[in-house]
Each structure stands twice: as structure tokens, then as C-alpha cells.
């Protein structure tokens, strides 16, 4: 009992994502815009963390950097123990594929692929076998109540269902972290609550989730909440 508890504690303490003094600025014609001014953030395995902040505070920039979609000017960022400072484009692409799941506000599903095919897409990119793909997608479709919709195309689904497909796709490669950009932004209250419940349920699998949002109701499922303001991040009490 004690060892299990210790193991759980160790897992809980495992640092999945660590940002130290991350700075990012954009040059415009007339001035240099300092978007991030030394962001420090550490997220442990199994945590659900939210980052909130007003528009233009740098939330998306931070998410891009964490998702290896953008570079930073200075500081240190490591994901699952891998220092990203000197990674090549290909290495970043591999990390995105294997260690990061993305959930977007607008879902970004491939319209010409069915629900099942959309979910299996990241596995396919990782060249997993057909058998494994089907097995994993079936599990996720069952988990998110999409089994009856597996042959449907995204345009044949409700918005809530599309977001569930998007979350299932993000989970399919068992990433170490899921990055959610306004996951409830396009949803009505009922669907938003459903999505929050699903995200909350992911705790069962010890999944780490980072959510960037405007929606304060996200706090009901998060372990910690951060506010990003003027390029600095602060943890809320």
C-alpha cells in the first residue's frame, strides 16, 4: 500500500513540462513587441492546468511555444525531460507527434475523413499497425460515446461531437501532455460542460492537460490556474 502510494506520488511529481525564463518578442515596423517577459512554468504528470488572461496577453504565443509551433528568444523549455532549445524541425515534429496532443477551439478535423479515420490519423503518421490503430480508436470512441458515429464525417456531427473527436484524436498516441486552446470556445453551455467532464475524466488516465481559455468555469476541473498578464505568468491562489 505504501509503495503504491509512493509510486503514485513519484508519478505525480514527475515534471512533464518546464519553462524557465521564456522570453519572446516580435518586431513590428516601428517597435519591438515583448509578448513574453520571462515565463516560468512547471507542470507535473497528471495535472490539469489552465492559463487565463486578457486578449493580447500572449496566451497563444505561449501555447505555440509549448506546442513547439514557435520558437522563443531566450530561456529554457523542456518537455518530458527533453530540452527543446536546440531541437531540429524534424525532432520537434516527432515530439509533437508522440508527446503532444492538440485540441483546438475550431476542432480542426479533416473534413474528408470519417470519425474513426480522424482519430487514427496521428497513429497513422506514427506508422502504427492497422490493428493497433483500430484497437486504440475503438477504445477512444467507446470512451467518448462516438462508436455509433465512427463512419460519419465531421460535417455530419454536432459541434459537441466534433470536439469529442478532436479530444480523442489528441489522446490517440498517448501523449504526455494535451494542449487545449479554448476547447469550449465554440460550444454552448451544455456541450461545454460535457467537454469539461470528458477532460476531467482524463484524470483517470493520469493525463496531463494544459488549457488556455477565457472560460472561468474551467476552474472546476483544474488543479492549478495561472494568469498571464503583460508577458508574466502568475499562479492564482
Amino acid at each position: 500500500m505504501n509503495s503504491i502510494s509512493t509510486k503514485t506520488m513519484n508519478q505525480k511529481e514527475e515534471i512533464i513540462l518546464q519553462l524557465t525564463g521564456i522570453e519572446k518578442s516580435y518586431k513590428t515596423y516601428s517597435e519591438t513587441l515583448h509578448v513574453l517577459r520571462g515565463v516560468d512554468l512547471t507542470i507535473h504528470r497528471g495535472e490539469i492546468v489552465s492559463i487565463m488572461g486578457p486578449s493580447g496577453s500572449g496566451k497563444s504565443t505561449l501555447l505555440n511555444i509549448i506546442g513547439l509551433l514557435d520558437t522563443y528568444d531566450s530561456g529554457m523549455y523542456s518537455i518530458a525531460g527533453i530540452d527543446t532549445t536546440n531541437l531540429t524541425r524534424k525532432q520537434k515534429q516527432q515530439i509533437r507527434l508522440q508527446k503532444i496532443g492538440f485540441v483546438f477551439q475550431t476542432f480542426n478535423l479533416i473534413q474528408t475523413l470519417t470519425v474513426q479515420q480522424n482519430i487514427e490519423l496521428p497513429m497513422n503518421l506514427l506508422r502504427k499497425s492497422q490493428e493497433n490503430q483500430h484497437k486504440r480508436s475503438s477504445e477512444l470512441m467507446a470512451e467518448f460515446g462516438l462508436t455509433t458515429k465512427k463512419k460519419k464525417f465531421p460535417y455530419q456531427l454536432s459541434i459537441g461531437e466534433q470536439q469529442r473527436v478532436s479530444i480523442a484524436r489528441a489522446l490517440v498516441n498517448n501523449p504526455v501532455i494535451i494542449l487545449c486552446d479554448e476547447p469550449t470556445g465554440n460550444l454552448d453551455e451544455e456541450n461545454a460542460q460535457t467537454i469539461l467532464n470528458h477532460l476531467s475524466n482524463l484524470k483517470r488516465f493520469n493525463t496531463t492537460i494544459l488549457i488556455v481559455t477565457h472560460n472561468p468555469s474551467i476552474k472546476q476541473i483544474t488543479d492549478r490556474n495561472f494568469i498571464l498578464s503583460h508577458g508574466k505568468i502568475e499562479q492564482q491562489a
Binding site: S60, T61, L63, N64, G67, L69, D70, K90, Q93, Q94, I95, R96, L97, Q98, F102, F104, Q105, T106, N108, I110, Q111, T112, L113, T114, Q116, Q117, E120, L121, P122, M123, N124, L125, L126, Q130, Q133, F153, R169, D181
Partner: protein, 385 residues
């Protein structure tokens, strides 16, 4: 999921786009092929199909009623012939010979289609003609009996009273008969009317005599073979250049059309590619998708385009040109009838066009993909979503 499923779904789900691309590729092939082939054929027969009108106007302004574009014998105007013979101090000015390529070919094979063996001498002379030498002392005219049989032996254009032409390009009659020139004149209803005379090159050295003769006989206009060549050359070059420009424009338009199709096709899917990249797809994977999909579209386009190209060209060649032939008694040199459908098809030119369209299709797809994928930084792509 197999990645090819994405390609398949894309082609079947976006039916309008797929059909548009296939039809676009087929249309590009058809238009460029038909234009290239027609241009090629036209170029070899240009002098026949389009006569040098401005120059004829010029000649007409000089007071000539009828123009004869042949080295004539004086039998057209016996008095004139006699005058010329005397004037130039020669035995006889040669008459018209219109040889037929097919007959010449038969001649080379020791078989003369439709021509009595005894008349081989005439064919020899016609060969000399094609080699740029005038038959000496000929008193006869040789034309195809195709016209005679159809009672269409009016070697006069509706607009311009052209009698006929001795030139390599103009000799496409089906069979050869031998006819006395006076009979030809009667049949054409131009007895004694011809007042423009072409004279053979061997007389051109007496250019001063020709000028003098023209001055003394103001109703007679003598065109030397060099003048005639100049007319042909100018007009031929002009028309050739014109159709070549048209052909280049058509080919250019076809390639731009293919480019536009690719642009539309790939940029309409740019969001898919961006999602792939965000999820972690390799650039190579996306390129493979583009190439495979475009290859399928290309093959489909060619399957439609190749038979349509052959049919379109053959229809234009055999039907429209036939109509042109019917509307003018002046022989255009184009083949007649449906039985010639595949006869004139130039496969090498056609395959060249297929290759150009194919390379353009796949090449543009890759270039546009490359541009499309590198157009934005990933962070900017992310911002869009």
C-alpha cells in the same frame, strides 16, 4: 486508417473539385494538342491554304484581270506565247504540270497510278519542277482528274482568279491525267483571258528583256519565279508566324490553366496540410499525398483527354477542312473524307504534348505545395485556427 484513404476520400468526397481537375487536365491536353497539330499541318500547307492576298491586290492594282501562278505555256494566250517565244528567243515556254505526291511516290516504286507508261516523261518533268527546275519544252498540262471527274476543274479562287500553282505544297491531287492546256482553258472558261504570266527561272537572267516586254505590253504582267517565291515567302512566313504564335498562346494558356487548377486544388486543402503538420506529419508525407493524388487526377485526365484529343483533331481536320475545301475550288492540300481520320495524326507531337501536360501537372503540384507549406510559419498557421 491507411493514409491512402485520405487521398481516396478526398477524390470521392470533393467530387466537383475532382471532376473539375480531371476535365481541366483533359481540356488542356485537347486544346494544346489540337492547336499544335493543326499548326503543324497548317505550316506545311500554309501557302496553299492562305493565298498572298495583299500582294495579289497589288498585282490587281497594276491592271491585271487574271493571275496565273504557274509557269505557263503560250497556249493560254497563243499570241502572247508566240510573242514571248520570239522575244526571248526560245523554242517553247513550258506548260503547267501539277504533280501528285502520291503519284510521284508510285513513280519511284516503278508503278504509276493512273498514268500511262508513255507519259512518264511528264512525271520526270514534274519531279524536276519539285526540285526547282522547269521542264523544258513541255506543251502539255498535267492535273489530277479528281477535279475533272467532279467537273470542278476551275483552278480559280472565288475571290481571286488564280489558275493554279506549281509547287511542292500544291500537288495533292488524287490521280493524274494529262490534258491539253487549251482544254483546260475551255473548262475553266478563261480562254485567252490570262494576262499575268509566270516565267521559268531560266528566263530570269533576261530580266531586262522581261521589264522591256512588260513596258511594251502593258496588259501583260510577267511574274518571275523569284518574285513569286518572294510573295510566297512573305505571306507564308507571316501566316506561319501567326499560327505559331497562336499555338504558343494556346499551349501557354493550357499550362496556366493546369497551374490554376493545381493552385485551386492544393490551396483548397491547405488547411488539411496545416493540420497534418501541426499534428506532426512529415513534409515528405504531404508531398507524397500531393503527388499520388495528382497522379490519379492526371491519369484520369489523360484517359479522357487522349481519345478526345484524337477525335477533336480528326474531326477538325477531316470535317471542317473538308468544308473549307468544298467552299473553294482552290485546293487546300488537306486530306478529304472520314477515312483520313487517323491518317494525319502525328503521334510524336501528341506524345510530346502529353508529356508537357503531365510534367506541368505534377511539377506545379509540387512547386505549389512547397510554396504553400512554406508560405507561413507554423506559428502563423496556428494563429489562424
Amino acid at each position: 486508417m491507411k493514409f491512402n484513404q485520405y487521398i481516396f476520400n478526398n477524390l470521392t468526397q470533393k467530387k466537383v473539385r475532382t471532376i473539375l481537375c480531371i476535365i481541366g487536365i483533359a481540356t488542356s491536353l485537347v486544346s494544346s494538342t489540337v492547336m499544335a497539330l493543326l499548326t503543324d499541318y497548317y505550316s506545311s500547307r500554309t501557302s496553299t491554304f492562305f493565298r498572298p492576298f495583299p500582294e495579289f491586290d497589288e498585282v490587281l492594282e497594276r491592271g491585271t484581270n487574271f493571275i496565273q501562278l504557274i509557269p505557263v505555256g503560250s497556249t493560254i494566250d497563243l499570241e502572247v506565247k508566240s510573242d514571248l517565244d520570239t522575244y526571248f528567243n526560245i523554242d517553247s515556254i513550258p506548260l503547267l504540270i501539277v504533280p501528285n505526291n502520291k503519284d510521284l511516290l508510285s513513280f519511284y516504286n516503278n508503278y504509276i497510278y493512273g498514268v500511262p507508261f508513255l507519259q512518264q516523261q511528264i512525271l520526270f518533268q514534274s519531279i524536276y519542277l519539285q526540285m526547282g527546275r522547269w521542264p523544258q519544252n513541255s506543251n502539255e498540262i498535267v492535273v489530277g482528274n479528281e477535279y475533272l471527274d467532279k467537273k470542278e476543274l476551275t483552278l480559280f479562287n472565288h475571290t481571286f482568279p488564280i489558275v493554279g500553282v506549281i509547287s511542292k505544297q500544291y500537288s495533292y491531287l488524287d490521280r493524274i491525267i494529262i490534258m491539253d492546256h487549251s482544254i483546260l482553258e475551255q473548262k475553266t472558261g478563261n480562254l485567252g483571258k490570262t494576262t499575268v504570266i509566270f516565267i521559268p527561272s531560266f528566263l530570269e537572267k533576261n530580266i531586262s528583256k522581261i521589264d522591256k516586254f512588260e513596258l511594251e505590253n502593258s496588259h501583260i504582267d510577267i511574274l518571275t519565279s523569284s518574285e513569286m517565291e518572294a510573295l510566297h515567302g512573305q505571306i507564308g512566313d507571316f501566316m506561319n508566324n501567326l499560327v505559331n504564335v497562336l499555338s504558343v498562346f494556346t499551349a501557354g494558356a493550357s499550362i496556366i490553366f493546369v497551374f490554376s487548377l493545381e493552385l485551386m486544388n492544393i490551396f483548397s486543402r491547405k488547411k488539411d496540410f496545416d493540420i497534418f503538420r501541426i499534428l506532426g506529419a512529415k513534409t515528405k508525407t504531404i508531398f507524397q499525398t500531393v503527388v499520388i493524388e495528382n497522379f490519379i487526377l492526371l491519369i484520369s485526365g489523360l484517359i479522357i483527354g487522349i481519345p478526345v484529343s484524337i477525335l477533336s483533331f480528326s474531326l477538325l481536320y477531316s470535317y471542317l477542312i473538308l468544308n473549307v475545301n468544298q467552299s473553294t475550288t482552290f485546293f487546300t492540300g488537306f486530306s478529304k473524307g472520314w477515312n483520313y481520320i487517323f491518317h494525319p495524326f502525328q503521334w510524336d507531337l501528341f506524345i510530346e504534348n502529353i508529356l508537357i501536360i503531365s510534367i506541368a501537372n505534377i511539377g506545379f503540384a509540387l512547386i505549389i505545395s512547397l510554396i504553400g507549406l512554406r508560405q507561413y510559419k507554423l506559428s502563423e498557421l496556428k494563429q489562424k485556427y
